[in-house]
Amino acid sequence: MPGLSAAELSFLEGGIAQDLRNDGRGREDFRSFSIQLDVISQASGSARVRLGATDILASIKAELGSPPAEFPHLGRLELAVEISPTAGPEFEGRGGEELSAELGKALERSFAGGANGTGAAVDLAALSVVEGKTCWVLYADVLVLNADGNILDASAIGIKAALSNTRIPKVEVLAGEGDEEGELELNDDPDECARVSTAAVPLIVTLTKVGRHYIADATGDEEAQMSSALSVAVNEKGQLCGVTKRGSAGIDPSVISDMLSVARRIGKRLLAKVDAEISLAESRLESET
């Protein structure tokens, strides 16, 4: 993306200071977004989120694997972000690698919870199949098709929506003979599948500092001007699930607690909107089948 001229930047910053951004939004307003469910039929669950021009696909694939060595009674949630070259020539080859890694880490921080699984976005214990031996691994992959700012927040929305759409096959452990281990029988009949509870899945609100103010849901142009940003994951209970500071400039500590409470407030509104959009997407899906 080309840079903006000094005049455009000054106009942009002026608008943010006056609480009237270039597209008419206030500093705390999110762009309108849409959610589509079940877009990748081969995945266990999937969603497409369009937030302004930012366009992402989130896919959840449930596969059997081994539980973490230190916590054999848990399942696993693995998160990754990839930026498709379709988003622009700057992302071809290895162009998007650094950004993808940064975003992937930020998602992990917000969704994976502590090492022992507490505070994770999904109930990891429920993913266990045979303690110490087999568990469900949920691979959550985000593919960015078009980037116009705020990919992280859009990804969180996408993962929450995709998880709500996820169906995990039922596993039966057959009795083994004598000392032999039992075999696993998979039943992927849609009616027999387990659903994933998304009540604890947080959303992320990224506040981007431009000049002396910070804004929510920055566009690509606004993001390019950021000095620093704070990404805050907020869940239904209003708890903070992960905080990531991005950007090279420092943030005054006195500003941080203010930013956190603003993020919580915006997060609460966003959660309600996202839940509503997911329900709508679900009913649309039902009426189609």
Partner: protein, 244 residues
């Protein structure tokens, strides 16, 4: 394993000479100059075109024609088993080359000297015939971008199982170990721009399978043409009359 039933039906209910259901959508991503989304059965592919634009690396600029650049990517969730694909692995590099060469055969590059055309193809779901789907999607995206071409490039794969030539193999049929022939065709000129086959096939059967693949290409070209005409019509109607 029976891939064609005695009644002549394949595993997914198709007849041997039937192409899977095609779905095309144009101009799906607005930042790109041209884009297209294509479904061939369960294979889903997205293609975007940036350009023609100024060459990004001056040293690579060609004084008499356009520089065509192509990158193929496969999503980690696109195959049955989720797999982290390293960038630049052999298969991606080969496919990027194959797609670029197929499109270069059609683009009138001499009309666009000192420019660069970037084609990005992203596989979202792979269920056999990804190569062909990528070429078809790239054609649509280039047409959407208004890049001048000598013809559409239509691509289709065909195989031979249970003694029957089969058109447009899906993943299961593809993995059966029989021959897999992918063809890309310039339909008006009836010129083949891509021909790849693996496994082995007696010569007369080869000709039958090749003929079938070419028929598939023509059917796909007709479908793409309809989609492009309809899309152009809508754009023109919405834009309204321009008094010259």
């Amino acid at each position: 394993m029976e891939y064609v039933s005695p009644e002549g039906l394949r595993l997914d209910g198709r007849r041997p000479k039937e192409v899977r259901q095609l779905k095309c959508e144009l101009a799906v991503l607005h930042r790109a100059d041209g884009s297209a989304y294509l479904e061939m059965g369960n294979t889903k592919v997205l293609a975007t075109v940036y350009g023609p634009h100024e060459v990004s690396q001056r040293s690579q600029s060609l004084h008499d024609r356009a520089l065509v650049h192509c990158e193929y990517s496969m999503a980690t969730f696109s195959t049955g088993e989720r797999r982290r694909r390293p960038k630049g692995d052999r298969r991606s590099v080969e496919l990027s080359l194959v797609i670029r060469q197929s499109m270069e055969a059609a683009i009138l590059t001499h009309l666009l000297p000192r420019t660069q055309i970037d084609i990005y193809v992203q596989v979202l779901q792979a269920d056999g015939g990804t190569r062909a789907a990528c070429i078809n999607a790239a054609t649509l995206a280039l047409a959407d971008a208004g890049v001048p071409m000598r013809d559409l490039v239509a691509s289709c794969a065909a195989g031979y199982l249970n003694g029957t030539p089969l058109l447009d193999l899906n993943y299961v049929e593809d993995s059966a170990g029989g021959p897999d022939l992918t063809v890309a065709l310039l339909p008006k000129a009836e010129k083949v721009t891509l021909l790849q086959m693996d496994s082995k096939l007696p010569l007369d059967t080869f000709e039958a399978v090749l003929g079938l693949a070419m028929d598939g290409c023509k059917a796909i070209a007709a479908h793409m043409r309809q989609a492009l005409l309809e899309h152009t019509r809508k754009q023109a109607v919405v834009r309204g009359p321009v008094r010259l």
